[in-house]
Amino acid sequence: MSMEVSASAAIIEAVNISKSFGPIPVLFSVSMDVRPGEVHALIGENGAGKSTLMKILSGFHDPTSGQIRLDGKRTPLPPNGAAEHLGIVLIHQELNLAEQMTVEENVFLGREIRTNGFLDRAAMRAEVQKYLDEIGLDILPTDRISKLTIAQKQMVEIVKAVSRNARILIMDEPTAVLTEEETEVFFRQVKKLKESGVGIVFVSHKLNEVKEIADRVTILRDGQWIDTRSSQDLTPDTMAQMMVGRELSDLYPPMHEADVDADVVLEVKNLRAQGVDNVSFGLRKGEILGFSGLIGSGRTAVFEAICGLSPIESGEIRLFGQDASNLSVAEARDAGLAYLTKDRKEKGLLLDKQMRPNLTLFALPKFVRNLSIDRKAEENALTRAIRRFDVRARDSSITVGKLSGGNQQKLLLAKVMECEPKIVIIDEPTRGIDVGTKQQIYHFIAALAAEGVSVVVISSEMPEIIGTCHRVVVMREGHITGILTGDHINENEIMRYAAGLKREELH
């Protein structure tokens, strides 16, 4: 095995790379190499140093010590993306495309083909069309980026990289925002790139995908290199264990049977709103109800409407038996209903503020004494939340934007729980966070339900839905296609309802 792989020499090698930001070391003598035509997955918990290593491999950071070798020769990489000229392209998680420009303009941005000083659009269009055909992407060079789906945008990034003769493509969680279908299409493209000899570095928290697509896997933990192995020698379980350094047999907590006779706390009938078409369901006390479906199937829209974040067109909502069809967000909160957004950076947290104001923002009226904010109470709440949710920050005065994704998610959870909701809707509870934190969050959800809080989990990750939920609602194109219980909660069933292959006659 190892003989066979090492037969082809590495394009890029990182040798004994260490990196410190100021006094804080984040990488300790890490080595990694990427060979032509391989997919090399880089995995580790949040804060393990993956991003830093990727940025060093693409020249965005300088290593504090150690060296980068390109084709066996020591090469200091030029900064700020200039390493693209050496064939090394980093595709950021937040894609770097000009939304209002066309595919063609984006691909050729900064190196437009010109004849006599004017842009040669025809030539560029033909060139882009050639790449699109090659990669099998069904869009036009003249399409505007803002019109494309996220998956298509990602493919445009890849076309852009390929058109620049990329030899090494470094991708930061490319599948985090893709549906399973889109991920499959994406993987087909990745395989084509592989065949053409491009070396691919692939960061993902989805270990099943890593197993499927990667040839070799490098595991980092707390800035240390743990191992580099052929993916054939690894299972998702062993990968997770190596990442965390402990057994993860109980990623999902044991599920307590839901009490089928418990009171219905939330009842929704024939709800219609933007992106929501005639949705009806009920939620019981202490129940964990999953909402599954493809991205854009209306799961988030349902709960944004219920929680007063977007207007309702028609339908009936009953909260603890009371009519609640027209609540504002604050009224919903006061009634015990809270929604935790999936978009923690844009809608969840004030990234330029410290933890304290973030924690108390949602439940701020609770902290007002004699018209003014009780800072002492806020400090106490923060101390409690840090302990309860295990939020790890260097010190409590750093801005929230500097926390790792997992810690941000825990803080967001703490923020929403600060108002002590009786019903909490958690949208994508573990998007882009590491296995260890995921486990903590699952246990937390289970504990909440055991205390009698009703939890709705909206998730695109099926194992998560299956592992945590008592019942699962599947949505497609704005309406509910099925409600699954017991043994029917499995990937096959969910997928068939989500894809529209199967449909339950409701009511």
Binding site: S328, D343, L350, I373, D395
Partner: protein
Amino acid sequence: MTTASEDTAAKTAKKFSVDFKTLGPAIALLLLCIIGFMLNPAFVSEGNLTNLLTRSAFIGIIAVGATFVITAGGIDLSVGSMAAAISGVMIIVMNNAIETMGSGVPTVLLGCGIAILLGIGAGWINGALTTKGKIEAFIVTLGTMGIYRSLVTYFADGGTLSLNFDIRGTYRPVYYDSFLGLPFPVWVFIGVAICGWLLLNRTAFGRYCTAIGSNEAVAKYSAINVDRVKTLTYIIQGLCVSFATIIYVPRLGSASASTGVLWELEAIAAVIIGGTVLKGGYGRIGGTILGALILTTIGNILNFTDVISNYLNGTMQGLIIIVAVLLQRSDWKVSKSGKS
């Protein structure tokens, strides 16, 4: 317990380790005063200092309101015109009330009441158009700026509206008299500043303004009634303009198309010099007060000296604004220590 006290110890230590962002405006004002004294010792005479404080009261009071608007991510360009329009209406109302109410205190109170209602109303219009109308604050207030300005010209028929001489006598003390050695306008300034500081720094409303300016979507998802809070910031701004107008009218006893010209820019400048971030999310009332004092001090110093022409007042103020913002840039150190 020990960790807690260590914590606070560390925090106070941090506060003392020169925070240029906060102390900058204070240091600048101090330097200006020293320069003023060196150029002409009469600068620190009691008469001049009270004059300086009284003058800065108008811009200062308006700038306190502007701090709320800007902190919540908005902008209000209409304040100067609003002040002119309110002065105009106040004068018309008071002149016409003489027949029925005489020229005593009730008439003046009526004028003040009208001013406050107009300020609140004008602020509400700005706020409602921005939030419910979903028009950018810059455009809304650019529009109302033109409207208010032309209204005062119309009311004055292109000339000047003058307050009846008898009422002037009654109203005069509001600008010219003192209490405990400080002129009334300064007391109003102090009162508005304290209320503003408490409101921004100690109440949930202030926190909401900051949150909205920092990220409106986060505010919305955090159960904050964004439209209401934003509208309230414009109403506070309008109210501040009313207060400034109430103490301004007795000074000249008249209003014309040139009343309050460029006050909006001076108010915004005071806010920015004080360290409030123009794009919102961070506001400092204390800084705003210092900013207003700095702007007035520059003009005052230029009056005292021949070194620089008094006509260059605007140039000096402009330079100070640009330098202040340059100094406040937090990325100075980062850009020095290399990339990333």
